[in-house]
Structures are given as structure tokens and as C-alpha cells.
Amino acid sequence: MVKTFIGGIHPPYRKEGLSALPIERMPAPKVVAIPLRQHVGKACLPLVKVGERVLMGQKIGDVEANIAAPVHSSVSGTVLSIEPRPHANGKMVDSIVIENDFLDEWHPSALPKPQLDKLSPEEIVALIREMGIVGMGGGGFPTHAKLKPFPSPPIDTVLLNGAECEPYLTDDHRLMVEAPEKIIYGLRCLMKAAGAGKGHIGVEENKPDAVLALKRVAALYSDITITSVAVKYPQGAELQLIRACLGKEVPPGKLPPHIGVVVNNVHTAEAIAQAFATGMPSIERVITVAGGAVERPGNVLVRVGTTFAQVLEARGLKGEPYKLISGGPMMGMAMYTGEVAVCKCTSGILALTYEETGSREAGPCVRCAKCVDSCPMFLQPTTIAHYAMKGRVDDAEKIGALECRECGPCAYVCPAGIPLVQWIRLAKSDIYARQ
């Protein structure tokens, strides 16, 4: 029996061909716009001034807060301006605009770090913060803050998420195939930092080459396990991955550390390994560029601060995209402009055509209960949505609206085409507003 969770859906994966395309490096653009907020938490303050020369890997923004991570320059060049720019979160975010001098001159601080056995857990956590590492699966939660959380029981397992259940996306897949050593090294850093005795990587079984590559490297370490999990969406959702790999459920309102688990994306682990080995902070990442409107889809290594439009120009567009998505199609955000910059947590850029989205008008709920059956959190999406429509905030909270992770199977299966996730988001924001 393949390990998995209860509920979920089987959307079309649309990864055929994509997952076989090796990672290509995209040349840095002439100008980058680096958002001062690329993580969950407090936005950074600029550490440089307009007109100043900055070097590649130089810290250009930071803030005194635990739930925050510094940002670094992805090119060497001159600061043109510090101004609000469109951000993947839909808002305008202060960004440092740098003109690239194409010298790629490294900042002197970008030096290889000591070997893992020469570092204490505290030093590792501090380095992870200093290198600007955040959750690269899309969440953007500062990684160091996961390792030193609130009073919680000791962490026994670090679980890496290599499920990559979002359709289209193959960037994690390529990293697992091409850089398994880095991922395992990153995992060992995380295990040591968290004081965890066990490391675990969960990979959907449609990536046998990734499983094989990771297993080959992990064979050297008796405390690291690679688990194939079922191909089902949202297998890569944190709570569902824990359930599949470790057989445990995180209680409502609690975070994984509550049951002694820390979950990180494989891409995050790779970034940590890269930072420790070369001293390069989080200034570039692999993104999947795909969708029916993209001429040459692929897995592209992009400097942070490159705009979506620049990436799409490099890959070519065939026709006007109907939707431009940051991330995957199930949980990603629809962009209103191509001027949004790639940040550390951008896993994909999708230019989708109308046909592939399957968009349509909503009708009345016919109570078919498909949303109930598909919900991996065992909620009743249609009932929460109904309460949201009627403004019944208390009732929505009572039946667990806040436990919704907005993963989307409910809206995907709804034969009436009701935007259930949108309604549940409304319910959640109403509940938060009242608190």
C-alpha cells in the first residue's frame, strides 16, 4: 500500500516532457528589482542608498525581527532607486532596483562556511538566517524561525518535501535529480540545527529518478529515509505529507513542531547547502516556466529580482496568456501584471490559456458533496462557503473554517463551478477581522 492521506484529487499533472528538461541558467537581466519582502513576517529595511554600488551576494535589506529574513543583491551594480513595485502578493512592495554591471563581482562576505561538524546548532541557525533562507516551496516562511520555534517538544524529525504535487511544476524534481548531494547536505544541516535524530524525504512516486538519486546519496546515512508517496494532490501540503510519511496528524491550530516535526522544501535544503558550500546567499532559484501560452517551457535558474515579463520574454510567448500565475495552478496567485519580480519563494511562472484553466460561471450548490469528499482536512467546504455568503461568521468558525489550508480540491471538483476557496478565504478574513 503506497503511503498517502485521505481525500484529495487527481488533477491533470501536465508535467510530461517538462520534468525531463535539465535546469538552464537564464542570464541576469539589465535591471533587477529586489523586493524587501520575500518572506512571511516583517519587511526588511534597505541597508543601501540610491546611487550606491552593491556587489553580488551583498546584504541589502534586513530588519530586527525573528520572523523575517534578510535580502541580498543578485547582481553587482548600482542602486537606481528604492521604490514600491508590484509584488507576487498582489500589493506594491518596496523594492531595491539595481542596474546590473554584468561583472558579477562577489561581495567579500560570500565565503564558504565551516564544515558541518565544526558548527554548533546555534551557529547553523544564525547562518541560515544570515543567508536569507526562506521556505522555497512557495510559503516563504523564514527557515531559521522554524528551527527555533516557540516552546515546543524536542524536534525528532526533519521532513523534506519533495512531493511537488502541484501540476506543471518540475523545479523540485529537477533539483532532486541533478543535485541530490546538496539536498541531503542541506537536510543534514537542518537535522543538526533542529537537534533531530531522523531525516526524511517524501517524494511522489511519479518521480522514480528523483527517488533513486536521493536514495543513492542517502545510503551513506542510516538516519535518513527516502519515502515514495502516492501521486495525489495535495500530497505536498505540509500536514498531508507528515500524515503520509510519518503517520501522524498535527492537531488543528498547531504547527508541526508540536508533534516534533519540522518540514522544509527540498529546494530550501538545496539553497542551504549552496550557501554553506560557497557562501552564496539566497539570490537565485530554479523556477518552472510553463503553461499553454509559453513557447519554450522549461526549468530555469533565475536571479531573484528578474521580472516575470523578462523570464517570459526569454522563453517566448505564443499568444496572450489568459492568466499569469506565480507558483502552481492549484495554490498560486494570479498576477495582474508581468512586472512582478521573481523572489525566493517563486516556484513557477505559468502563462495559462483560457482553455487549460477550465474557468466558468458559478451556479447554485447542488450539494453533491464532492468538495466534502475531496477535502484533505475533513472540512465541509460547501457549508463554510454558505456561511460566508450569509455572513454567519461564528458558524463558519465553529465548523473549522480556520483549519482550511486553501489547497483547492473543493473548488477543482465543484460541478457547479463555485469558487469555494475564495468564499472560505472570505470566511477566514471575517473571522480574523472580528478577533
Partner: protein, 313 residues
Amino acid sequence: MDIKKLTVSSSPHLHSGDTVRQAMLLVLLALAPAALFAVYHFGWYVLAILLTGTISAVLAETALLRFMKKPLTIVLDGSAALTGLLLALNVPAGAPLWMVAIGAFMAIIIGKHVFGGLGYNPFNPALVGRAILVSSWPAHMMAWVGPGLISSATPLAMQRAGEAVPPYLDLFFGLKAGSLGEVSVFLLLLGGIFLICKRVIDWKIPAAYLATVALMTWVLPARGQIGFFAGDPLMHVLSGGLVLGAFFMATDWVTSPVTKLGRVVMGLGAGIITAVIRLYGGLPEGVTFAILIMNGLTPLIDRYTMGRRFGVR
């Protein structure tokens, strides 16, 4: 690069493509073999009944939509046609056409649109139509006929009267009297299993319903009889409207519970009521009222069968 006119909306940005219309058409398709068998078994007049029921329901819905200034395209969702067909399948094969038409009108008007249309009706519209017909023209609704429209008692009535019931195989394949759509258990089962495979209906409702009726009619003595474990469960399952009701009416999306446990309760409750009516009630058959009563209890069932949420033990 200039990207214009991007559409922005909440995630997810993919959809299964499933529609209500598609599901309704699948149910119509699943009913087709049993309906065609009725035409074969009872004669061409049955075709007139089926067409009258279906067309009347569609006409009634179209007229109402026009009256309420709603988009007429709603009628294309197929739900009205399905209601009309289900109603037609629930009358005796010799029913007068005018009565079938009135039943279909009532199903659409009283059963569905007074509550706000598809999705808002608490009771199964076809059964509301049938209940109205049973109480308005009981003589027509009890005028059971066999092939050639020659009057004949239903197996359940025969059993009550202490007469010999046709053999199980005849009951299974539909060589008996009864509502025109309920006779071929075999073809109804095929259609039901088709709908389960297509994930249109949940197997839990028919399974719980049939199992409950079988268990109760086996264990409990009918009125006037003594001794437990002496019933004839197979006869009960193969007779009357049970299979039609269990697969095609109790499973109606709108009027059955949305929770997983609730769907079991739906089947269980309908089974208990059906068995009690059949064993002790004044009528030989109880499927219509059993399902209607459970429809009425559905909001309550949903409320008390939410089940555990992820992470709660």
C-alpha cells in the same frame, strides 16, 4: 514584453470540467435501460407516459424561469428532464397522461421552484410529485397492471394477501406488475453501478438502504405473523420501488446529506421507515414516504454527523 488583459481570480486556477449538466445526463443515461425495458414489457403506451412526464417537467420549468425572469438556459442543466422522467417511472403503466403531466408540473412547481430552484429544494421533486398524485388520485396510482396493461397485483400486494409471489428470477428481471420504472431490478442495478463507477452517486446510500430493508424484513415478523427470522428479505429487496429509490432517489444530491456518515444514516433511516411501512403500515409500499421523511431530516443529519476534522482524535 507587454502582457495585457490578465485575468485575476482566487486559486485554484484549474477545474475538473465536471458540470451539473453532465451528471444529470449520466443519470438519465443510467435510467434509460430500465425505461426502455418498461416500454418493451408493458407496451408502447409507456413511451407516451415517459415522454409526457419528461416534456411536461421541462415545459413547466421553462415557463417558471420565464415568469421569474431567470435565464432560460437553466433548463438545459437537465435536472427538470430528470425529475420528469423519474416521476413518469413512478406511476403505474396504465396511468392517464393528464395525470402524469399534472404530477410533473407539481414536481417542478411545488417540489422545486417554490423553494428557489435547483439546489434549494428540501424534498426530492419527483417524489413530491408522486406523493401529490398518490393522495389526489389514489385509484389511478394503485391501478397496477402487467404486460398488455392487464390489471395485476404487485408482488408486495400479493404477499400481503397471502398469494404466491412470482419467483425471484422473475422479480429480478422485471416480469411482474408495478410502477413502470421499478420492474427491472437487473437493469436498475446496472444503471446504479454505472453511476457509482462514474462517481455520480455514493455507494453508501443504496448499500445501507438495501441492507437495512433486507435485515429488517428478514428478522421482524410482519403484521399478523409470528416468529422472528422468518421473513423473505430477497423478495422485499427485489420488489416494489426499493432499488429504483435506493439508487436513483435517495441518492439525489440536493436532498441527501453531504457528510460521509450522514449518507449512511440516510440509507439506514430510509431502510427502517420502508421496512416498517411494508411490514406494519397501511400501504404495501413505503419507499416514497421513507425517502421524503429522510429528505426532511437531512439538514439535521448533516449537523450531527460532521465527523472528525484532520488532526482531531
